[in-house]
Structures are given as C-alpha cells and as structure tokens.
Symmetry: C2
Subunit: 360 residues, 2 copies
C-alpha cells in the first residue's frame, strides 16, 4: 500500500548526535536551550541541526516529555437571556479536542456579565492558577487592563477574544472589526433602500460594561452613509434603549418609528437585541421596515426566517473561541509566530443562507 513505509527516513536526534560526535542528551539540551552545554559543542550541534534541517518529531517529544499545558479562559457566563458566550466556549472546546493529544488542558472561569468586581476577582483567581496561557474576554476595559498587566508581570501570554484593548500587552486579538461591520450593515441598507433617508440606529445598552462595539458599529454605519448620502447620515435617527426596560422600550420604539414625519423605513440595531425590535415590528404589522442586526441567537434566527429581520451579521463567536485556543496552542506548544490581530470575516446571513450556516 502506498504510504506504508517506503519513505525517506527522517533525520532523528541520534543522527544529529552522531554527526556532532556527542550524545542524544546533549543535542536535546541544545534544542531546548537548557544550558549545561559548552559554547563549542552548542555551536557545532546548532550548525548540524541547521544544515540537516532537522525537525523534531513532536509526537515523540510530547510522549516522552509527559508534560501538559494548562490554559485558562476567562469568559462571561452565558445565560438564557444572553447566550452569546456559549459559542466562544464551544469553539474553545472544539479546538481543545483537536489538540488534547498534545497535553493541552483548559480551565474555564466565568463571571457575571454585569459585575466588574466578579470579573476582576475571577481573573485573579485564574492568575493564581499559574497557567501557561490565558484567553481573556476584556468585557470591562479598565479591569482587563489591570489583569493584562499582571499577566505580563507573570510572563503569561494572553489572547484577547471578541474585544481588543489597544496598547495592552497580549500576543494576539481574535474578533471582528466592529466599525467595518457597521459599514457592511450600511451597505446592505443602502442597497435595499436606495436614497431613502428615513433610517434609524438603535442601541440597546447595558448600564455597565463595554460599549465599544456598539459605538464603533454605529460609527461605521454613519461613515458609510456620510460618504455616499450625507443628508441621510445627518438626518439619521438614533435611539438608546437601556437593556433592562420592558414595556418602556416599546413606548420608546413606538414614538421613534411611527411618530416622526413619514415614519421610519429602515432600522439598524447595533447588537444582538435586534429581536426586541423585530418583536415590536411584528406586533405592529410593520414587517416591511428593513431590519438589520447582529448575532444568530435562536430568536433572531426565527425572525430572520419569518422575514421580519432582513439580515444578521455574524460575529462568528464559535470561531472566535476556536481561533483563540489554536493561537495560544501555536504560540505556547509549537512556539510558532502568531499574528497580532486576527479579524474574522464579517458574515452576512439572510433567510436563504441561514440553514447552511453551520459555523456560528
């Protein structure tokens, strides 16, 4: 059978050792830079390694070393009301399955979305765990900066997931370009609405927590319109609704959408709460208003299928988790170079491509 043994034998440590006139142990010491080797020997061995283009067998290495790599992940706890974070978590688990062979283990730490204090204290608990790598969702900017600094002090590499913190010392950021995603939303809106300018941006905001995403998305949306239809950008309505409200939100929407002269014809919701607007529009029989929002929550998908929501932009949360752990793995275990930022594609989901969209 093809591929069953008839290959060029690969170069082993013992080959290098013989060529250098030393033992395998010495080559190993050179390879792993653990000192106790004379300069001359070291130089000679390194030369031969390069010359022969020696590539260690990572299987044998992992097997013999019996060492494991403990990573820590600090993520918001996902809830029924806010299920977003279960996807990065499952992405991390998916990645873990692929690399568990190599002794990688992950400890997950969860904190309540609303609590700065919990974020910080859970973060410190994680740091006390002495991990070899950290995945961090920097939901609270200042506290995250503190944690980042402490990681840097301890020499622990960090991958930021979902939100970036400029200037923080981390090896990589994995997430979406929020401003650009707002541009995509605007492009779709404009493609469907032409020069229609009775548009509105709706922000659902948490009292605490990072609003960066939301602001950048609105900014991107406006930037697009400003470039192509400045008058629409200027007249563009803008609504802030606190996350907590119940009937309150409906009143606000009612006023904003139906009371303005001529009404509103297109709405861009800057986060996953778009289903709340959808629910309202459905109730009012106003499904013809174009509605664009974020994230494939079950409820959002339902409104997409019904045609109340026209487009959803996916943040690919699962892939964010997957890429995070793989980046850490490549950095820590394989010691490869990794890119500083890893922007994921901005996926456009509509009723017709939803069912084949399995990546989340």
């Amino acid at each position: 059978m093809k591929g069953s043994g008839n290959n060029i034998p690969r170069i082993r440590i013992i080959d290098i050792a013989r060529l250098a006139g030393v033992s395998a142990g010495t080559v190993d010491r050179v390879l792993h830079d653990r000192g106790e080797v004379s300069r001359a020997t070291r130089k000679k061995v390194l030369g031969i390694i390069r010359e022969m283009d020696y590539q260690p067998d990572i299987l044998a290495s992992t097997l013999a070393a019996r060492k494991t790599f403990g990573f820590g992940a600090l993520l918001p706890r996902s809830t029924d009301d806010s299920p977003f974070w279960k996807y990065p978590l499952s992405g991390i688990e998916e990645g873990l399955r692929e690399i568990a062979y190599f002794g990688v283990e992950v400890d997950n730490y969860f904190f309540d979305h609303a609590s700065r204090e919990k974020f910080l204290s859970k973060g410190r608990e994680m740091l006390a765990g002495n991990h070899q790598g950290i995945i961090l969702a920097p939901v609270f900017t200042e506290e995250a900066a503190i944690l980042l600094e402490e990681c840097a002090g301890a020499g622990v590499p960090v991958v930021l997931v979902n939100a970036d913190i400029c200037g923080g010392s981390c090896i990589s950021f994995v997430g979406q370009d929020s401003g650009q995603s707002g541009m995509v939303a605007a492009r779709l809106m404009h493609f469907g609405m032409g020069d229609e300018s009775r548009l509105m941006v709706v922000n659902f905001t948490r009292e605490k927590g990072n609003r960066d995403h939301i602001l950048k998305r609105e900014e991107g949306f406006r930037r697009y319109y400003d470039g192509i239809l400045p008058e629409a950008q200027k007249s563009l309505g803008h609504l802030n609704i606190p996350e907590t409200g119940g009937t309150n939100a409906e009143r606000i929407l009612e006023d904003a959408i139906f009371s303005s002269p001529g009404g509103i014809k297109g709405i861009f919701v800057t986060n996953s709460r778009v289903f709340r607007v959808a629910r309202f529009l459905e109730k009012k029989g106003a499904e013809d208003i174009v509605l664009i929002g974020y994230d494939l929550l079950d409820e959002n998908k339902e409104f997409l299928r019904k045609g109340v929501i026209d487009f959803l932009i996916s943040q690919k949360p699962r892939e964010q988790g997957y890429r995070s752990i793989m980046t850490l793995y490549r950095h820590v275990v394989l010691r490869q170079e990794v890119e500083r930022s890893h922007y994921l594609p901005i996926d456009i989901i509509t009723r017709e491509n939803l069912e084949h969209y399995t990546y989340t």
Copy 2:
C-alpha cells in the same frame, strides 16, 4: 506550573492487560482486530476496555506503528485563466500541515479542465498508486462514476469535492448547495431591485464538462423569484455564452442588455466569469446595473472594489479542500464516523466585507 504533571494518570494498555491477566500484545491484538486471540480472552479484554473506558494514546500509537497514510487527490489543474482549483489545493495543503504528524501524505494528480480522457487516465494512474483514501473532483460525471466504482471495488474510501454525484459510493461530499446559492443571489437581487423585473441570467458554459452547478444555480434563482414575483421569473432573460468567444460575447451582451425594451437592470452570472460582464458594463458606463456572480477571482475582486460587481458568492474553495482532507483523515486515520454531506456556508461578499474575508 498548572498543567505540568499533576493529573489523573490515564489508563494504558498495560493496565488493561494486567486487569485481564494477559499481556499487552494480546490487548493490542484485540484492539486492532487482528485475530489470533481466543474468543474467551477477546471477550474478557473487550469487557475491561469498555468498563475502564480505555482510550488509546494516538501519539504513542502513531509513533510505534511507524505507518504512514497515503492519500491521493485528483483535481483540475488550475491555470491563469481559470485559477479556481488552486484554492482547494491550498486547502488540502493547509490541512495536511496539521496532520502530517500522524504520517499522512498526499499525492496530487492534475488533469486538464477540458479533457475527459485525461481525467479518466489520470484517475486510473492515481488508482494504481494504492492509496488509503481519495479526494476526487468529479468534473466529468460519467467518468467520475466509473472511477468511483473502481475505488469501491478496491475498497478505497472517496471524498467528493465541489460537485456531488448522487448514488455514487463515497464516504462524503464537500461542497456548496448550488440551488440554494442561486436563491441567495435572487434574494439579494430582489432586496436591491424590489419589483423590478428587467433582469437577466447569464451562463458562461464550457463546451465539455459538468454544467450541473450552473443549471442548479439558475434554477434556484428562478425558484426564488417564482415564489415571490412570478411575473419577473417568467420574463427573466437568459443568455448562454460559450466560454471561448472574444468580441463575440460583447455583441451578445450588447444585444441582450441594451436592445430589449427598457433595457436590463440586474444581471446574475452563474459562475466565476462575472468579470467578463463587469468589464463590458464598465466600458459602457453602465455600472448602475446590479451585478451578482460567483467566486473571488482577483479580477472579480477588483470589480467588486470598483462597485461594478455588487455581490460575489463564495464557494469557499479553500475550505472545500481543507474539509476534504480532514474528513478523509478522520475516517481513515482516526476511524471516526463522518457525515455523508458537508455543505459549506454560502458566503456573501461585498465591497465592505471583502478585505476581512481571508478564508477563500
């Protein structure tokens, strides 16, 4: 350091052997079903394996077995004029890098896009290579069916990539749902054009070769319109342009687009040749005609950036390659169950999300 040794020791073959009162060799024979074990011993060992939930260490296994897996891939040769197939190839290479540790090797076989004979002869050359798994792009349906049958006869598992052959014996298909992608195109067209019915479908066809994709895409496009705007579906123009033509094609386009009463306002090109229509529209200063097509060829991307093409649908060719080899790996090396069809997401690309679309 966390994760450096302080774990529950995992169960090894030797543990199973001791519990069963046999040697490691015997357990190994049971594990790999290579006979030469008495029914009683076998049963006992299997029982303990189950009871202890024994999971073999694939690293140690691969290392000791020193066996390699040879896969073969039969793909069209990519050319400057038709670069599509370089992406599945690079996806295969990307996947290979991740699993080369496990002794996987791939031999690629290329054939000329236009030649049925080459396809069959190269396929047979590949079969002679005695591979443990095959990736096949079934560009020519009948010839592919023949090859599939020969693979089945030889007991070699096959993954079909890009196009499916119903009824063929393969372990998995990886590709796009062409009909559904036509629906997506129609949805976008309709979203942008409203009830406008001066639309046209353009098919660039090769003389030989599989037109399945193209037909299904048009069909999907029509199905969407038939459901929502039947009169548009009925009046929907339809143009077949042979791949070869030069100025000829321009004449045909000229007649179809500008001579019909009222002209044409939206065009759906059912494959990657959309740049040819774009080139024509640009020359005519008719960039306001909505244009939707397939595949992120460099030339298509350029027209997308310029705004001549409005949307491109990606077939994710690189991912097709990646998934193909990973599916084969999971089936052959890890002996896992794999799903029969693997439809990739239907990605919508527009000027605003093009730059972050790195997956191809």
